[in-house]
């Protein structure tokens, strides 16, 4: 069955009739399915970005473009360099070589905070909850344009109260959607692993970014909740937000992404729409594996050959 047409339990008005999706699909329709391909309306363009750690090359990207307004998935084996690429693009790490632009402006060498302010906001794979602040405070911190964040305005509450109210309303809405409403006044440090992931994502969305980069947003999140959150991500596309996410959950990738980029050993090895990329034999061999659609309860899987095959695949992935 088609994942798209499947009814989603939580009411998400944008889920199916997505004008944004149509637009993006139309834009991407003519784009060739090859690594490093040019896109009609790229928001991020990066050239020859490399990052070495000692002797190993974690990232070695010749050319990559992210389509504006699209939901792009970045997949690839463990250690492929996805997170490192995120770190480089968002200014949390410094590349060995390379330049990139965001909305036409060069962002290479720009500090992380400035990158975020320019509209490119990311989340972390290993969550960074602000432990001794409450959930709602975490959320408020994500907002932008709060005049009270400047030292002198902070001293005159009337100057920032109104904005604070707006922020709080927005934060509470997001919390409800991310099933964190009940935790509003708890310390973020007391959240469970999955709840932290959710908070991290919700907090990033507070700033209404032009582009949001999610690093494995759904790892550790309950599937039922994942499903309801996908609606939210799709809704982001409707508002014109560009989404780039790393994810190992293929159902999610298949369900919401307009475009998939595959990384391996630091390089871009394949690009294309999800159905096609996932049918690509190389991707299946190196990343998805032969059993990704198999019921693992099958005893025959316990045969030694299967293990060997899996190991071979894992090695392939490594190579």
């Amino acid at each position: 069955m088609s994942a798209d047409s499947h009814p989603i339990p939580t009411p998400t008005p944008f889920a199916t009739t997505s004008t944004g999706k149509d637009r993006v699909l139309a834009d991407l329709a003519l784009v060739a399915h090859e690594p490093g391909v040019r896109k009609p309306d790229p928001i991020v363009v990066a050239d020859s970005v490399t990052r070495h750690f000692g002797g190993m090359t974690a990232v070695d990207v010749d050319h990559i473009e992210i389509q504006r307004g699209a939901i792009t998935a970045l997949i690839g084996p463990n250690g492929a360099g996805k997170t490192t690429l995120f770190n480089l693009l968002t200014g949390f790490d410094h590349p060995s070589t390379g330049t990139w632009t965001f909305e036409g402006k060069s962002l290479s060498g720009v500090a992380a905070a400035k990158v975020a302010r320019s509209g490119m906001v990311r989340t972390f794979q290993l969550t960074k909850a602000l432990s001794r602040m409450t959930v709602i405070e975490n959320m408020r911190l994500g907002a932008t344009h709060q005049p009270g964040e400047s030292l002198f305005t902070a001293l005159i509450p009337p100057l920032w109260r109104a904005r604070e109210k707006e922020i709080t309303v927005q934060a509470e809405e997001l919390l409800e959607r991310f099933k964190l409403g009940a935790m509003r006044d708890e310390f973020a440090g007391s959240l469970s692993g999955g709840q932290r992931k959710l908070l991290e994502m919700a907090r990033a969305l507070m700033s209404k970014p032009t582009m949001v980069m999610l690093d494995e947003p759904m790892a550790g999140v309950n599937p039922a909740l994942t499903q309801s959150l996908l609606g939210h991500i799709i809704a982001l596309r409707e508002t014109g937000t560009t989404v780039l996410f790393v994810e190992h959950d293929m159902h999610m990738v298949r369900h919401i992404s307009d475009w998939v980029i595959v990384m391996a050993e630091g390089r871009i090895v394949a690009e294309g729409p999800p159905e096609e990329v996932m049918a690509n034999q190389a991707v299946v061999d190196a990343y998805l594996g032969a059993h990704h659609d198999t019921d693992l309860g099958d005893d025959s899987l316990l045969a030694d050959e299967v293990m060997e095959q899996l190991e071979a695949e894992a090695l392939e992935e490594k190579r």
């Binding site: 790490d93 290993l126 690093d215």
Partner: protein
């Protein structure tokens, strides 16, 4: 040490020179010149001086004239080079030296100061000096003058072999000497800082009472040697054992319960400040505020080439190096040693790996306190005395060393200590001595700017 024959000769020559000098200055020599020597009393004042040749030998038979309100007095230097006149009225006196009576080849160092005017008081002694030597500003006798006279470098100077180099400025010998002291100090400091670093590394606690652990070692050794009269070795071993036990005990009654109650490390840090206060003043209560000499014997000096070290410090350094090597082996090669790093990274996971976390921490406290105690004993010997605040005074240097080397990296603390030791002892070559700690701290800041993670620390990955 293979150069010891030379060293011995230098030492012997020095001793002879010393004896000669002592003979000249000691009251024994004064006896024969007794009839000349003026003693100031209610009605007389004295003007006196001693004249020595450039080589430092007494200059005999020099004639001086002292003229003033109560007339003219003539004095001649005696066998010890001394002269003196008694005056009966206070006021200004002109002292002139008859240059013709100078021994052959001697000149006044500063001829313009002859004659010179002094103010004498009744009941007081006033000096008037006429230094002999080459007419330069250089205060020390030059090499040429020394060898011309055939004596060793230990002439006029108070018997130090360093005199042979041109004095005052920075000589290589002085650099070497201070570098040696720096290394010794650094290695001994390392004993203390490695313990501090271990405790910080495993528990995240900045232990401001660590200095008192160091003091404890020193004071226990003092008690052993001075109060109980035990031999140094025995009291040293007992001191280290008790110091280590105190670490065990402290963790058992204080830090373990605090950790169990999840008291944060900053709060624990304040507890260490309180503990440090309580301990410092307890030491003061029992042992007073003065310096305590662990052993009263004067240190035996050894010469390594031209560099002097005391036997005590040499042995101390050897002990310290052995112990530090042992600690290094323990940390790197033993299971428990590795476990300390695991505990410092992630105590819960360490427990999940089957490590007895509390046991490891207890062991670290014991080891850290034991090392500090040993550091205290050796430091007390090296510094010639211990006192109630010896450790407290060193604490900042220890922290600097630990940070410099990379927080929590035990070897970093070792490297950091050596750097700090060298900087502290050598910075007085270039900056005022009372600012040398400032110099060490400045170096610390600079190193941190270049290598924020410390010398041996590693940068962390984000994301």
């Amino acid at each position: 040490m293979d150069r010891s024959p030379t060293a011995h000769r230098v030492l012997l020559a020095t001793l002879f020179a010393l004896l000669a000098l002592a003979g000249a200055v000691l009251p024994v020599g004064a006896a024969q010149a007794a009839e000349q020597v003026c003693v100031a009393d209610a009605s007389t004042g004295c003007i006196n001086g001693t004249i020595k040749t450039a080589a430092g030998a007494p200059a005999v038979g020099i004639v001086l004239t002292v003229a003033g309100s109560d007339g003219e007095h003539i004095a001649t230097t005696g066998a010890d080079g001394r002269w003196s006149v008694a005056v009966t009225a206070a006021g200004e006196y002109t002292v002139s030296l008859d240059e013709t009576t100078l021994p052959a080849g001697e000149t006044l160092r500063d001829p313009s100061k002859n004659p010179r005017t002094v103010t004498a008081e009744v009941g007081n002694t006033t000096g008037a000096l006429f230094p002999l030597g080459a007419p330069t500003a250089a205060p020390a006798p030059s090499d040429g003058a020394t060898s011309a006279d055939g004596t060793t470098g230990a002439d006029a100077a108070v018997g130090t072999p360093t005199g042979s180099e041109s004095g005052g400025g920075v000589s290589w010998l002085r650099v070497g000497q201070q570098a040696t002291s720096g290394l010794i100090f650094g290695i001994l400091l390392a004993l203390a800082s490695v313990g501090l670093s271990l405790i910080y590394g495993t528990t995240g606690l900045s232990n401001f009472a660590h200095g008192e652990q160091v003091t404890l070692g020193g004071i226990l050794a003092y008690v052993g040697c001075q109060t109980l009269g035990l031999p140094l070795l025995v009291s040293g071993i007992i001191a280290v054992a008790i110091a280590a036990a105190s670490g065990w005990f402290q963790d058992a009654v204080l830090w373990h319960p605090l950790r169990r109650r999840r008291v944060g490390t900053t709060q624990q840090m304040i507890v260490t400040i309180g503990l440090s206060m309580a301990l410092q003043y307890s030491y003061q209560y029992f042992f007073g505020g003065g310096a305590l000499r662990i052993v009263t014997e004067n240190p035996t000096m050894l010469s390594l080439g031209q560099i002097r070290v005391t036997l005590h410090s040499l042995i101390s350094v050897i002990i310290a190096v052995l112990v530090l090597a042992g600690v290094a082996y323990f940390l790197l090669k033993t299971r428990i040693g590795r476990a300390t790093r695991a505990v410092s990274d992630n105590p819960a996971l360490a427990a999940a790996s089957g490590i007895n976390v509390e046991g490891v921490i207890r062991m670290v406290w014991t080891l850290g306190a034991g090392l500090a105690g040993l550091g205290g004993v050796l430091m007390g010997l090296y510094l010639n005395a211990t006192s109630w605040n010896m450790g407290g005074a060193l604490l900042l240097l220890m922290f600097a060393a630990v940070t410099l080397g990379g927080l929590g990296a035990a070897f970093g603390a070792l490297v950091g200590s050596l750097v700090i030791g060298l900087v502290v002892e050598m910075s007085s070559l270039v900056i005022p001595s009372d600012m040398r700690y400032a110099g060490a701290l400045l170096i610390l800041i600079l190193v941190l700017l270049l290598r924020p993670q410390g010398i041996l620390g590693r940068a962390e990955r984000i994301g």
